[in-house]
């Protein structure tokens, strides 16, 4: 029975839906591409991520692994149909902050719906079991479990809560303002937008880590295709075929010319109708490779990869104060360690995707991103267009964590659209995403720290090589940030730190939550445990003795205000003593399983290092009384849309619920810089606060009212009132400005910093954030497995703008830190999928307790400090210190896989 196509019918979300597809076509393709049900996401096409989960006759299955013919005559439920089925579940996800970027949310919701059908009030274990097949890279899972467990008790969806009053938004446990579409499946990510008549773009990529190549008769290959296709190569690029993130280090071709330096590098794109591309034999593409000897790690030297970078050293960063060598020579105790870390993959669940089209004389690019304006400028340069002829509309972005700061497909789809005049879409496969986009730098770092008999640190040296891979990307930022931060938030009068970014044929290493600081913290924080032991001082107490306090100088000679590290450490002390006692009691049994406790700190400067990074925010009110915030800080799940609005609304004095958001579309919204360096809540938040304040000032001046007057916006009347009287501003009577507003303000804020000198002295950041985390682990001393039982995380945010979202950052950051500590290791060419590259699942996460310290920063808006990257930094060192405490094993190579832990336990005996 060879079933003819076109005779199938499934009941999708209650509606009989005929479909015509090859029987073996993935159901995910049929739902998304053929039926337009793009709520079902594709993160891997291999069963590994669960984003494509649908219910097939009531059972959760991966749509990417289901032949479409099996849906014939069946009942299919996708996220789009859940509103009718489990409306409380969606509400509960919003209320608990269970969706950050939202790309995993459809899969989570559908899997949960499958469970709730039979088990309306599940316990945590049941939820973890049922949802265990869906990966989330943002949330750390805790809030998802909460949301599912509590969904039965959720109020009726009709009953919307009123939201905080004017002036009360900052500090409120407000659910995300942009959450709605994330739980209904309506959110449009890069791959979800398919303009009429769009062509598809696929890249031909290098299978080699390094090679010379020659293209054959490409035109003949294209001409021989069963249906028309275009091939474009470096020769077709109209502008300068180089992009990068930092002007002086721009070195990456959009399409390689004759030489590839890393695996996955694109050498050509093929553009055509999807069916035409599907019918092509890509293996026959005319390219001959001459592989060259390649080195992807720091183990061996290799010929220079780039002119002007002798010895493959891209750049080195140095911070030096006092005389570290002398201080170490005179120290009572000195500890030394060398730590090796692995390539770490960002593993956002959304592979890169986007669309480009021509609108008049403008090239429009709608793709996932963390930096719309940088994308515009770099793409324009590659394509030889003036920047004003490129418009970037950010798509909803399904996680970024640093890698979506760099260009990926933007120049490729832009080129395709320019050349063909048709809308063009490109969706990276998981393998393509993993092979070709940036990673966390693998590092080999050696540190020495000395202290006196009272446990006061006297000096430290740090020397690290960071494998920056084939291209510069954000390697320079890492090399500069590391020496500034490698001291930790501690007093060090004598300090000498050097970090080098070194090229290899590994994938370009770039930005990843923390820019090298999470690696460096491993050195300093594990050495502090050695020293505390040597000096006979409790490990938390040792840190307290050395923690920076207001008035202290950092290793860069800066005296920041509002230093909260002591407060964070103190906040852990009750839990610390309890945990130590519990571990000791448990270990008395002398069992195979041993418990341990570890602590580590972090500090992290928010914004660019000693360089400008302004944000500009516009807020306006229309004649009809709509309050509009142009919020250009990309929200990649971390919550900028919500917290920036909260800060602006409170400064203005209107309820945050009245704010309408306009995103970072470069045609509509001023530049808020990139979503990186934990800068958006602070920098864009401050610009938003200033804009809100300025608009308020205008309104008060117009109405001749005092600073303490209250505003209310009712229809097209803006009422200003205080105890004595009230004035109405009729908005419709006011003139409209060029942006369409009758009242508006635009403010720019740039952090005041002082660039670093040759010794790394200066004021690199205007604001720092601080934190300390405590890990409680259980180590199986016969198998070497580690289970993190509990994490207690104390972070100083200056001012908590939104506790719900802040907890989400902590939980998600800890999940990534735990992954880095225990399981994540990207091996180029070998782990280009999500079953060989492991990230934590539901079952791997500890209980997490967040403690928020509010030590206001003098510079941050309403005292705010950054948080996004801080949360990941202490996790891995705290876990390693806990393993050490439990077993004596000193782990010096990450990840701490069971075989490595077991070997370290043996070595310690």
């Amino acid at each position: 029975m060879n079933r003819p196509f076109g005779k199938c019918q499934m009941r999708v979300n209650g509606a009989e839906t005929p479909f015509a597809a090859a029987p073996g076509r993935r159901l995910s393709e049929v739902l998304r591409e053929d039926l337009g049900l793009t709520g079902t996401k594709v993160g891997c096409d291999a069963g590994d991520c669960g984003a494509c989960t649908v219910l097939l006759d009531g059972a959760a299955v991966c749509a990417c692994l289901t032949p479409s013919v099996r849906a014939d005559g069946a009942e299919v439920v996708t996220v789009e149909g859940l509103g009718a089925l489990v409306p409380r579940l969606q509400r509960s996800f919003l209320r608990h902050g269970a969706a950050q970027c939202g790309i995993c949310t459809p899969g989570m919701l559908v899997a949960a719906a499958g469970l709730l059908r039979g088990t309306p009030a599940p316990d945590r274990a049941e939820v973890e079991e049922a949802l265990g097949g869906v990966l989330c890279r943002c949330t750390g899972y805790a809030k998802i479990v909460d949301a599912v467990c509590d969904s039965a008790f959720e109020a009726d969806p009709g009953e919307a809560s009123p939201g905080p009053a004017a002036g009360a938004a900052v500090g409120a446990r407000l659910e995300r303002l942009d959450g709605g579409p994330k739980v209904t499946g309506a959110e449009m990510y890069g791959a979800d937008h398919l303009p009429e008549g769009a062509l598809e773009v696929r890249a031909i990529r290098s299978p080699h880590h390094a090679a010379r190549f020659a293209l054959g008769d490409v035109a003949a290959w294209a001409a021989a295709a069963p249906a028309p296709v275009h091939v474009f190569t470096a020769a077709d690029i109209p502008g300068e075929n180089l992009f990068g993130t930092i002007p002086v280090f721009v070195d990456q071709p959009a399409l390689a010319e004759a030489h590839v330096r890393q695996r996955g590098e694109a050498v050509a794109i093929v553009v055509g109708e999807t069916a035409a591309l599907d019918a092509l034999d890509f293996a026959a593409f005319p390219v001959t490779w001459q592989p060259e000897e390649a080195v992807t790690d720091l183990s061996a030297p290799l010929p220079d990869l780039h002119a002007g970078r002798p010895g493959n050293e891209l750049i080195r960063g140095v911070v030096r104060c006092g005389d570290a060598i002398m201080a170490l020579a005179g120290a009572a105790h000195v500890a030394e360690v060398t730590v090796d870390t692995a390539y770490v993959e960002h593993a956002y669940i959304e592979p890169e995707a986007g669309t480009a089209w021509i609108d008049g004389d403008t090239l429009v690019i709608r793709a996932c991103t963390q930096a719309p304006v940088m994308d515009r400028d770099e793409t324009a340069k590659v394509l030889g267009l003036p920047a004003e002829r490129v418009r970037v509309i950010p798509a909803a972005t399904g996680g970024g964590f640093g890698a979506k700061l760099d260009l990926s497909l933007q120049p490729l789809i832009g080129l395709a659209a320019l050349k063909t005049g048709r809308p063009c879409r490109m969706v990276y496969s998981r393998a393509e995403s993993m092979a070709s986009t940036t990673k966390r730098h693998p590092a080999r770092m050696t540190g020495r720290i000395g202290c006196d008999t009272a446990g006061r640190v006297t000096g430290m040296t740090f020397d690290g090589d960071f494998n920056t891979g084939a291209y510069a990307s954000w390697g320079p930022t890492v090399a500069v940030r590391v020496p500034v931060h490698a001291s930790g938030p501690y007093r060090m009068e004598h300090y000498h730190a050097v970090a080098r970014a070194m090229h290899t044929n590994g994938p370009a290493a770039g930005a990843f939550r923390g820019f090298g600081v999470p690696q460096a913290a491993l050195v300093q924080e594990t050495l502090f445990d050695d020293l505390a032991r040597a000096a006979g001082i409790d490990r938390l107490e040792f840190r307290l003795r050395n923690a920076l306090v207001d008035g202290d100088r950092t290793v860069c000679g800066q005296r920041p205000g509002g230093i909260g590290i002591r407060d964070c450490l103190v906040a852990l002390s009750v839990a610390w003593n309890r945990a130590l006692a519990e571990a000791a009691a448990f270990n008395e049994a002398q069992g195979v399983v041993r418990r341990g406790v570890g602590v580590a700190s972090c500090w992290y400067g928010c914004g660019n290092t000693g360089l400008p990074n302004p944000s500009t925010v516009r807020v306006g009110i229309t004649a009809a009384g709509r309050l509009v915030l142009h919020q250009g800080a990309m929200d990649i799940g971390q919550g900028a849309n919500t917290v920036v609005a909260q800060l602006c609304a409170d400064a203005l004095g209107l309820p945050v619920g009245q704010v309408s958001l306009v995103d970072g579309d470069t045609a509509k919204t001023p530049d808020c810089g990139k979503t990186s360096a934990s800068r958006q809540t602070y920098v864009t938040g401050k610009a938003a606060m200033l804009a809100g304040r300025a608009l308020r000032g205008t309104i008060l001046a117009m109405s001749n009212m005092g600073e303490d007057a209250a505003l209310s916006l009712e229809g097209d009347v803006l009422r200003v009132h205080d105890g004595r009287g009230s004035r109405d501003i009729r908005l419709a009577d006011l003139p409209v400005d060029a942006h369409g507003y009758v009242l508006a303000a635009e403010e720019t804020y740039d952090p005041p910093t002082v660039g670093l000198d040759a010794d790394g002295q200066g004021e690199p950041y205007a604001v720092y954030g601080y934190g300390a985390q405590m890990a409680e682990v259980e180590v199986d001393t016969a198998l070497g497995t580690v289970k993190v039982r509990r994490m207690t995380a104390a972070h100083d945010l200056g001012r908590v703008v939104n506790p719900l979202l802040a907890e989400g950052q902590v939980e998600g950051g800890i999940a990534q830190g735990l992954g880095m500590a225990l399981m994540e290791e990207y091996v180029p060419g070998r782990t280009e999928n999500l079953h060989d590259y492991l990230i934590p699942t539901f079952g791997d996460m500890p209980e997490i307790r967040s403690i928020f310290v509010e030590k206001p920063d003098p510079e941050g808006p309403m005292g705010v400090k950054g948080l996004g990257e801080h949360v990941l930094i202490p996790t891995a060192p705290a876990i390693l210190n806990a393993i050490r405490h439990a077993t004596g094993a000193r782990i010096t190579r990450l990840p701490a896989l069971p075989h490595r832990v077991l070997a370290a336990i043996r070595a310690a005996r």
Binding site: G24, A130, G132, G784, M823, P898, A903
Partner: protein, 284 residues
């Protein structure tokens, strides 16, 4: 255009198999990840509409696990304690989504060294029922699995069922899997046991280790050594010498070879200790 066959009768399926080479598709949880294409490549014989191949049935001399039986079907089936290990394995295959689609037979046909189905089925003395248009043969599982990703199947043949002899119904089964994370994880090592005890002493111990050699393997030396031993003593009898010689693990990103042997030995020890503890509990 490639053909896609989805018969509802086994005889029809066997005719299709006889006519031309086709790829047998069951849960497709191994087939799709092996391709980047949007549809299954090549000619397909989809066996999931053949009702006769789905489910677990008790027959005269054996239990029959039909070739279209999913891991979830195993979990939901009413089976004696000897299948407890297989059920534990079923719960740990990938995720609920994978268990709802993936089949036990597909797992054996894939013959991954780390396949979670093989160790338990080896301890159950399972055989594989193979059919073609020309007839039927039954192959012991240990002969069916001939190497990493290699099975004893000829052109025109397919697996129609897995047979567990009635004799293996005695005793209780257990299973332990070691991976670097909780869900969706490929085993670093695993251990399976089926133990039949009489008067507190082991009458028969069927033991197997997976992910530590190209194909999962029984542990004959240890099985012999445990015969007649008190169950409570069994764990203490497990030594590296009795486990290691039949293993030939590899170094890979999940663990090195030496670790694998050690872990396998430890898992087997724990499995036996758990069997003993459970029996004590049951007796109490």
């Amino acid at each position: 255009m490639a053909a896609y066959h989805r018969p509802s009768e086994l005889t029809e399926a066997l005719e299709i198999l006889a006519a031309a080479p086709v790829t047998v598709a069951a849960g497709c949880t191994d087939l799709y990840p092996a391709t980047q294409a949007k549809a299954l490549p090549g000619d397909i014989l989809d066996i999931t509409a053949i009702d006769a191949l789905r489910g677990i049935a008790r027959e005269d001399a054996c239990w029959r696990i039909g070739a279209a039986t999913t891991w979830t079907d195993v979990l939901n089936a009413d089976l004696p304690a000897t299948f407890d290990g297989l059920k534990l394995a079923a719960r740990e295959v990938g995720s609920v989504q994978i268990q709802n689609a993936g089949t036990v037979a597909g797992n054996l046909c894939t013959a991954s060294p780390a396949g979670d189905g093989a160790p338990c089925l080896l301890t159950l003395d399972a055989s594989v029922e193979v059919q073609s248009a020309h007839g039927r043969r039954v192959v012991p599982l240990s002969s069916f699995l001939i190497g990493a990703r290699r099975v004893e199947l000829q052109a025109g043949e397919m697996v129609t069922g897995i047979l567990v002899p009635a004799a293996a119904g005695a005793g209780g089964g257990d299973f332990l899997k070691l991976g670097a994370r909780k869900y969706l994880v490929i085993s670093i090592a695993m251990a399976a046991a089926r133990i039949d005890v009489a008067d507190g002493a082991i009458r028969e111990a069927a033991l197997a280790i997976g992910a530590c050699s190209p194909v999962a393997t029984r542990l004959p030396a240890l099985e012999d050594a445990l015969r007649g031993v008190a169950l409570a003593e069994a764990a203490a009898r497990v030594t590296g010498e009795m486990v290691a010689p039949v293993l030939s693990p590899i170094d890979d990103i999940r663990g090195d070879a030496a670790y694998r042997v050690e872990a396998a030995t430890e898992l087997m020890r724990r499995l036996l200790a758990r069997c003993a503890a459970r029996r004590m509990e049951a007796a109490a």
